[in-house]
Symmetry: C2
């Protein structure tokens, strides 16, 4: 490009009304011209004074653009003889291999991306795991967050390695001791950004690539994804009316980690019996393995108090206890906690700080106050009463509509019911069909990890407005009738 | 225990002034007596009416405690003949294996826990990577957070799968395009909880266990920890004055991922030349591998505008661009972003939602407003001027104190300088010694991943008050003099 043409090229493209500075525009236009070979290697650029006057720009504007292009290697400056387009691009273009069709995910990436996708907008009837957000004390909670954000000491803005804010760890330890009979001090508590992170951290610290995780079958696919991502092999172990039954595990299977939901098995709702709990603790000693107790929704028992944790039974130190605030506060809060044996505290803290970094202390401080001031317990009590009524309402209206043809899981607990369907019904296609009618039905068969699977529906009721339950139940009944072969 | 003794055992232990409810106390005391075999299998418990009257408690109090113990399996109830201690514990005690000495971390866990621990309380002279928190517009930022928390629509409280809040992704895309010449639309942006998470997600989606990551040597140990945790093998590739030099990689080494900090190499400060950038892009095509561009602090260039990203050069789609808000806002914010090729957007979004879950939308919304309203750019401008002055001040006072005996890295950029030390000085012991004097000196040798290492110090200045820099420099000079052999 002849120097005159450079000036012309720039003149027609510079936009004096743009939000982009003139200097930035000049830089960008020259860079593009060099990259596209409109300005070829070795071309002499106009002197800055000359270009500035030709384009009616300040000389500093042109200088800044040239400096940036020099710094980035697009231009070379030769002492005394001016500024030239560098030869780098020319040289590179001559050698270039054409890009391949497309670069791809790894095998692990393909597997992770394929694990059943979460549908978006998961609330309303009958999305499982969704608490009642509308009755959360939003104003109070925001006021607390504001107070605690305002009083942030400087330490809260930096990196830390404390396993979470001390006040929150203390509030959690008190709560877990009192309401779940977990044996722990505040030092054993580690605050994390959600249960998924907690599962992965645990799997990576306690298990190696290729080690085996026993999982309840049917079970929680979020845990499956986390253990897979940590390189573990999953061995499904079936759940009977006492909970996970180790007798049905493949002979000789040597687990490194046993993942269980003993207070309220997900999704079946079974409570693990005391006998089975003791058996599992014994087995963990014999097999030298770890137990991860996921106590995701045990706040919500409607017949008794929340059941004592398995962790609290153990005389040994083989249980990692996991609790979450997603169900008792709200999912987008992204706060969960681990309670780990004392011997593991240092390793968990330092690996957490290293792999994930701590943060969000103002939020943690607000949550500690929310707990200490009794709002947390009060909200749980209110939601317990609400969810109890919603469960009854769902049972009642489904029985009215469908009689005994849709058997529901028993148990006065939790945030969902399981409805078993006859073997010939494809719950996956039913669920897709229902979604078109604005009804979220999570297929039970998707929760099976092994060969056997049972069709059914996981029906969340906790986040469904009382007024919606009858109408949505009717909708479900109509869908089921139409889905009879 | 005779029934009378049960009553006596409970009477002396029940505390009517305790915050714990009487029913809960009763439950706990009976449970402990059963677990410790003071109450043996088969023992008949007093009838509820009888126990209530003997302890002067309400009958419902006793009923609730018995119900809980029945639900948890500690008691059996035989129709017509009363309530008995279950035989489960007795049975279990007879079989029990004594606990092993201690259960342990996995090999991977040991390695992760051992990766050099971050010291706690990392601020003040000369902690690297720490921005100036005191001059952050805290009040404004809190006001924005409050506004956006108040106006939260219900969707923000639930699980999502959008790659982060749309408004924030748009603000980030605008910013990255304009200030880094990244080529992207808002859909390609994925908002995450910190750079560590971003590195791990990328490594797991794009690489398999045992695949090789090329890392700059010296380099960033946080990235090393993330790639190790994702099961990758690290191959250190040395950095020369043009940046990572692929010619020095072991012959035949086949990377799956090349991790680079081209705008401002960490820790050396080298800017990768245009020639080297093009060479690496070419190499990624030839070797069918991915490039991860970590642009952690390129906002802070003092001679030119921030340098254009390597991502913006690529005609192929092999670059994953990583940016963080830890340096330009504050570390505890825990927000970072990836900009990924369009072909990968769906996989990254669904794997992210699956493995980590999204959340914190009110915060994301506040940050989007902070950016849109110009506060972000203004804060960066102010900090750029401040850090430039602090860098000059640090150079100046160290030269005054130590003359040419402490050669400092060149480059008008970033938040730290590197000081090389003579080969006979042990920077690790110097650093430990300095910590006792309240001076944070990160040893350069710790950043080397391969066999060769160079002693030195990574001196952060961005977060150090101007007034502290001269005094801390004098302290450093005295320490160095005493450390001469």
């Amino acid at each position: 490009m002849h120097p005159d043409w450079i000036v012309e090229h720039l003149r027609v493209r510079i936009d004096r009304k743009s939000a982009e500075t003139l200097s930035r525009q000049l830089y960008r236009l020259l860079r593009e011209a060099i990259r596209s070979a409109q300005l070829r290697s070795g071309t002499a650029l106009p002197a800055t004074r000359q270009l500035a006057s030709a384009l009616a720009l300040g000389r500093n504007t042109v200088l800044a653009a040239y400096d940036q292009l020099l710094a980035e290697g697009y231009l070379d400056s030769k002492q005394g003889s001016g500024t030239f387009v560098s030869s780098i691009f020319e040289h590179h273009r001559a050698q270039q291999t054409p890009p391949r069709a497309h670069a791809s995910l790894s095998r692990r990436g393909e597997a992770l991306a394929a694990v059943s996708k979460l549908p978006v907008g998961l609330h309303g009837a009958f999305a499982p795991g969704m608490p009642e957000i509308r009755q959360f004390p939003h104003e109070l909670w925001q006021r607390l967050q504001q107070q605690h954000a305002r009083s942030s000491p400087p330490d809260w803005w930096h990196y830390q390695q404390e396993g979470g804010l001390r006040q929150l760890r203390e509030a959690i330890a008190d709560y877990a001791q009192l309401s779940r009979s977990v044996r722990c001090g505040a030092d054993q508590v580690l605050v994390l950004q959600g249960a998924q992170q907690a599962m992965e951290l645990t799997a990576r610290l306690l298990a190696d690539q290729g080690d085996t995780a026993w999982m309840e079958d049917p079970g929680y696919s979020g845990a499956q994804a986390a253990f897979m991502a940590a390189g573990m092999d999953i061995t499904p172990v079936s759940v009977d009316e006492q909970g996970l039954n180790p007798q049905t595990a493949p002979a000789g299977s040597q687990p490194r980690l046993i993942y269980i939901t003993p207070s309220h098995q997900y999704p079946s709702g079974v409570v693990m019996t005391l006998e089975r709990r003791l058996q599992l603790l014994q087995l963990a000693e014999e097999k030298d393995c770890w137990i991860m107790e996921d106590d995701y929704d045990s706040e919500f028992r409607y017949d008794t108090q929340p059941l004592a944790s398995l962790q609290g039974l153990a005389s040994s130190e083989r249980v990692i206890y996991l609790g979450t605030f997603s169900k008792v506060m709200y999912p987008a809060l992204r706060l969960a906690y681990l309670i780990v044996p004392e011997a593991l505290v240092d390793s968990f803290r330092s690996a957490y700080a290293r792999l994930y970094r701590e943060g969000g202390y103002a939020l943690q401080s607000a949550l500690a106050a929310f707990m200490e001031q009794g709002h947390f317990a009060r909200h749980i009590r209110r939601m317990r009463e609400l969810y109890r009524i919603r469960q009854q309402l769902l049972r009642h209206t489904l029985r009215q509509q469908l009689g005994d043809s849709l058997p529901l899981s028993s148990g006065e607990a939790g945030m969902h019911l399981v409805a078993k369907l006859p073997a010939h019904i494809d719950d996956d296609s039913l669920s897709r069909h229902a979604a078109e009618h604005g009804l979220w039905l999570r297929p039970l068969s998707r929760h099976y990890l092994g060969d056997h699977s049972q069709p059914g529906l996981v029906l969340g009721y906790a986040g469904v407005d009382d007024a919606d339950i009858p109408e949505s139940s009717r909708k479900l009944a109509r869908l089921l009738e139409r889905h009879q072969p």
